[in-house]
Amino acid sequence: MKDYKPVIGLEIHVELKTKSKMFCQCSADYFGAKPNMHVCPVCMGMPGALPVPNKTAILWMQTIGRALGCTLPKHSKFDRKHYSYPDLPKGYQISQYDEPFAVKGKVLLKNPYLKGGEKEFHITRVHMEEDTAKLIHQGKDSLVDFNRSSVPLVEIVTEPDFTDADDVKAFLEELQVIVRYLGVSDADMEKGSMRLEPNISVRKPGEVGLPKYKVEVKNINSFRFVKAAIEFEVKRQIEILEKGELPKQETRGYDDVHGGTYSQRSKEEAQDYRYFPEPDIPPFEFSEKYISDVENSLPELPSTLLTRFVKEYGVKEIDAYILTRDKKTADYFESIVLNDKIKKAGQAVANVIINKKIATSLPAEKFIEEFLKLGKPVETDTALLDTAVTTVLGANEKAVTEYKSGKQSVIMFLVGQVMKQMKGKADASVVRKTLEEKMK
């Protein structure tokens, strides 16, 4: 069984949080709205209605592309992808075929939880398309709501670089963090603004190149499920290969209740998409300046920030990883560390933030005040300490005898008694030292 090697590629859809939809000015904020409230002839696919692309959506998609290390071609266009389904009113989806807005990228994954600490994965392309309408299955009907129709959707396609479900999970988590850093999508899997479709196949022992089939799994709405779905599929496919057969090329759905996958659509019925250039939308030409502006607009990405926190502020890698999982926490951490009063005590600040000793919801000034109090040693009133030590030693003769006869651990009990007498207003190490001296 050991020589079978999983081959996994990913398709990820991310819905952008622009104000307007992709090809019309209807509101893209469909979540929770009553059916068919944010609609117009364009997103309902009425004959003659002309789509016009949303400039911000394209820019944001290109930003995602750059953040994933892609090249942004100077020339691009939209295409029509045809298939028949009630969620697609035009009978085609406006998407991109052979000239996407971003191509050939790579992501360096830095994650201390990953075997080896870091890994590189390749991005095939990132393209712009529109979301479909929402279907609500109810009784004998499927109800069609066009509020989601034509909401900007970004598709990210990776190379089949993955061989392990844990790597996939780590990559997807990083992708979600990156997209959120860019502020272009909530990337919320429960709300469906981030959707994952792994393509899974298994390479037989000694087989070269890609296997002759692949299985696409849909309906996965959590990182945990993507791992479970991959593990299930790999096992299922190996069992088929063991019998000397080839798994069917098909689309399967993930069933989170039973933890397995089930056949949805076989290759024989798979659609012939008949792509062709969208005649209603003129092509795009991007200047060098435009492309370099996209590049320059990128914020510092989580992996860069992680490296910098380790290098500049001496934070442990694992803590830097935790701090950089959301931009707000990372920025907050850095604003504190860079304050003159903190003197770049990076690891100490990291500990306090990670262990939630001080709330990061506090204004920075207040946080720093609290932080400095934490670090300060307690001042000990020596006169009071003398009295307390004498009292405690007098009241605990048995303990003192034990200590003198060599039972050193008794000292902690005595320290505790003195601290109690002084109501905690003493430095424990000073108390210990005083006790030791008195008992010499």
């Binding site: 000015q25 117009c40 364009v42």
Partner: protein
Amino acid sequence: MSDKIKLSKEEVLHLAKLAGLTLTEAEIEKNSAQLAETIDYIQNLDELKTDGVAPTNSVVDLSNVTFEDGTKNTRGLTQVEATANGKNVKENAFAVDRMM
């Protein structure tokens, strides 16, 4: 010129399916012949030498036509207008036969 195109029944049925058409036996026969004739006719395009000619993706002399995000929506429909011509409207949505 090449040989006359002949379409198999399977090919015609496949195309009909993609186009969302249900064809009777007689229609399959008729469409098969007509479609073959059409393909035959446009096949003379193959005689043109197009090596090195970039495909024409757009015939309009325009590029980068976009709108600014969040600008006023002047084409929006109300829920009532949107569903007014629906054959089967339930709970303000268009009802179709259950898909899953």
